[in-house]
C-alpha cells in the first residue's frame, strides 16, 4: 500500500506543480488589474468589515488510512474559527471529501452542502459547482467572508493544514498558494508602475466580471490539487510507518516464538535425560 500511495503521490505532485504556474500567473494578472483599476466598487472586493457570517470550504479526502490528515485539518478549522471569529453568527461549512465531512459533523460544525470529491480531480470543471454556490451566496450577501481550508503541500514530508481567505478578494500576495510568485513579487511591482497606459477589452468591468469567477475557480482547483498531493503523501507515510511497525512486531514475535520453542526443547531434553537416568538407576 505504501507503493500504491507513492505512485499516486507522484502523479498528484506532478499535477500540483503543473497547475501552480497557471494559478501564479492568474494571480499576477489580478494584481496588475488591481493596481490599474478602482476595484473598491466591485462586489468581489467588498471592504473588510466585521465579519458576522462566514463560510468555510473544507477540502479533505474520501478515504482514511492517511494518518492524522483529516483530523488535523478539521482541528485547524475549529481553532481558526475560535481564534479569528469568536463573534460570528453563522459559520457554515461546505465540505468536499467524505472524511472531512464526517469529522466536521463530529465537531458539530454547521454543514450546509457536501460536494462529492473525485479521487483524481482532472479539470476545473469539477470545481465549478462549488465556486458557483459560494459566489452566489457571497454576492447575495449571505456571507461576509469565505475561506477555504485545505492542506498545503510543501514537500513529501511536510504538509500543513491551512485556512485561507477566498472572498472578498484581497489584492495582495498570499504566501501559501503560489510560492514562486512570492519571491519575485518586488521586481514585478516596479515593472507595473513603470507604464501608465493599459488597454482593457472589452471593458474593465466586463473583464473583472469574467476574470474574478475564474480566479476563484482556479484558486479552489489549486487547493484541491494541493490537498490531493498532501493526502497521498500523508498516506504514503502512514503506510510506511505501518509497514515499519509491522516489521518490528514480526521481529519481536519471532524472537518470542524462538525463545518459547527453545525453552520447550530444553525442558523436553531435560525430561528425557532425567527419564533415562531413572531407568539406568532402576
Amino acid at each position: 500500500m505504501e507503493l500504491v500511495a507513492a505512485s499516486k503521490m507522484r502523479k498528484a505532485v506532478a499535477r500540483v506543480l503543473a497547475s501552480r504556474a497557471y494559478s501564479d500567473l492568474t494571480w499576477a494578472t489580478v494584481l496588475h488589474l488591481c493596481q490599474k483599476l478602482d476595484t473598491s466598487r466591485h462586489p468581489f472586493f467588498r471592504p473588510d468589515k466585521d465579519a458576522k457570517n462566514i463560510a468555510i470550504i473544507l477540502i479533505s479526502s474520501n478515504r482514511g488510512l492517511c494518518g492524522s490528515f483529516n483530523v488535523n485539518l478539521v482541528k485547524k478549522v475549529v481553532d481558526s474559527i475560535r481564534v479569528h471569529h469568536p463573534n460570528s453568527k453563522i459559520t457554515d461549512i461546505v465540505s468536499c471529501g467524505t472524511k472531512g465531512r464526517d469529522e466536521a459533523r463530529r465537531h458539530r460544525l454547521n454543514l450546509i452542502a457536501d460536494f462529492p470529491k473525485d479521487d483524481i480531480t482532472i479539470s476545473t470543471e469539477a470545481i465549478r459547482p462549488i465556486s458557483h454556490l459560494i459566489t452566489r451566496e457571497f454576492l447575495a450577501g449571505k456571507y461576509d467572508k469565505v475561506f477555504v481550508a485545505f492542506t498545503d503541500f510543501q514537500s513529501a514530508i511536510s504538509q500543513v493544514p491551512h485556512v485561507q481567505q477566498l472572498l472578498p478578494i484581497v489584492p495582495k500576495i498570499d504566501e501559501r498558494l503560489g510560492h514562486i510568485i512570492h519571491e519575485k513579487n518586488k521586481s514585478e511591482e516596479i515593472n507595473v508602475d513603470s507604464f501608465a497606459d493599459f488597454l482593457f477589452e472589452p471593458s474593465t468591468r466586463a473583464l473583472l466580471d469574467a476574470f474574478l469567477p475564474r480566479l476563484l475557480e482556479v484558486q479552489i482547483y489549486q487547493t484541491v490539487l494541493e490537498s490531493e498531493a498532501s493526502e497521498h503523501s500523508a498516506r504514503m507515510f502512514a503506510m510506511r510507518n505501518a509497514s515499519d511497525a509491522a516489521a518490528d512486531m514480526i521481529n519481536e514475535l519471532t524472537l518470542a516464538y524462538n525463545q518459547a520453542r527453545q525453552a520447550g526443547i530444553t525442558s523436553e531434553i531435560a525430561e528425557i535425560a532425567s527419564g533415562s537416568a531413572a531407568v539406568e538407576a532402576g
Partner: protein
C-alpha cells in the same frame, strides 16, 4: 529583431514558453495580432485559434523565415505586458495533437444534446460553448493538415 516572450498556460500544464515574433489570437472583440512593443493589454479570449510565428533561423533575417505554430484554445485571457505576453487558456492544444475524427464526433454529440436536453438557458449556453470549442479545434486541426500537405500555399 526584437522578440516577445510568450507563455501559454492552462490549469493542466505550461503549453508553450518561448521567444516568438508575433502572436494572433481571437479576443472577444475580434482577432488581434500582437507584435513586439505592443501596448499593455488585458483581454478576454474566445474559442478559436492561436497562431504563433517564430523566427526559424535567426541568422538569416531575409525572406520568409517564419515558422508557424497552430493551437486551438477554448477561451481564457491574454495579458500583454511590456516584457512578456501571458495567455491564460482554459484549455489549449497544439494542432498536431488534435484528433480530427474525435472533434467531429464531439460536435455531433454536443449538438444532439443541445437539441434533446434543453432544460434551461444555462445548459444551452454550456452546450453552445462546447460546440464552439470543438469547432475551433476542428478548424485548427484541418488548417494544420492543409498546411502540411500543401506547404507552398499560404492560407491567410
Amino acid at each position: 529583431m526584437k522578440q516577445i516572450k510568450l507563455k501559454i498556460v492552462t490549469p493542466e500544464k505550461i503549453l508553450l514558453q518561448e521567444e516568438v515574433a508575433q502572436i494572433s489570437v481571437s479576443t472577444a472583440l475580434g482577432q488581434i495580432t500582437i507584435l513586439p512593443n505592443h501596448l499593455p493589454l488585458v483581454s478576454k479570449l474566445v474559442s478559436g485559434e492561436i497562431i504563433v510565428k517564430k523566427i526559424a533561423d535567426p541568422e538569416h533575417s531575409r525572406g520568409n523565415n517564419h515558422k508557424e505554430d497552430l493551437m486551438a484554445v477554448s477561451g481564457g485571457f491574454i495579458e500583454v505586458l511590456p516584457d512578456q505576453v501571458v495567455i491564460l487558456a482554459d484549455t489549449a492544444e497544439r494542432a498536431e495533437e488534435i484528433d480530427e475524427a474525435r472533434a467531429e464526433e464531439a460536435i455531433k454529440k454536443a449538438e444532439e444534446l443541445r437539441k434533446e436536453k434543453i432544460v434551461d438557458a444555462e445548459q444551452f449556453a454550456l452546450f453552445t460553448a462546447q460546440i464552439e470549442k470543438e469547432l475551433a479545434r476542428l478548424k485548427v486541426a484541418r488548417k494544420y493538415k492543409r498546411q502540411r500537405t500543401n506547404p507552398g500555399i499560404k492560407i491567410e
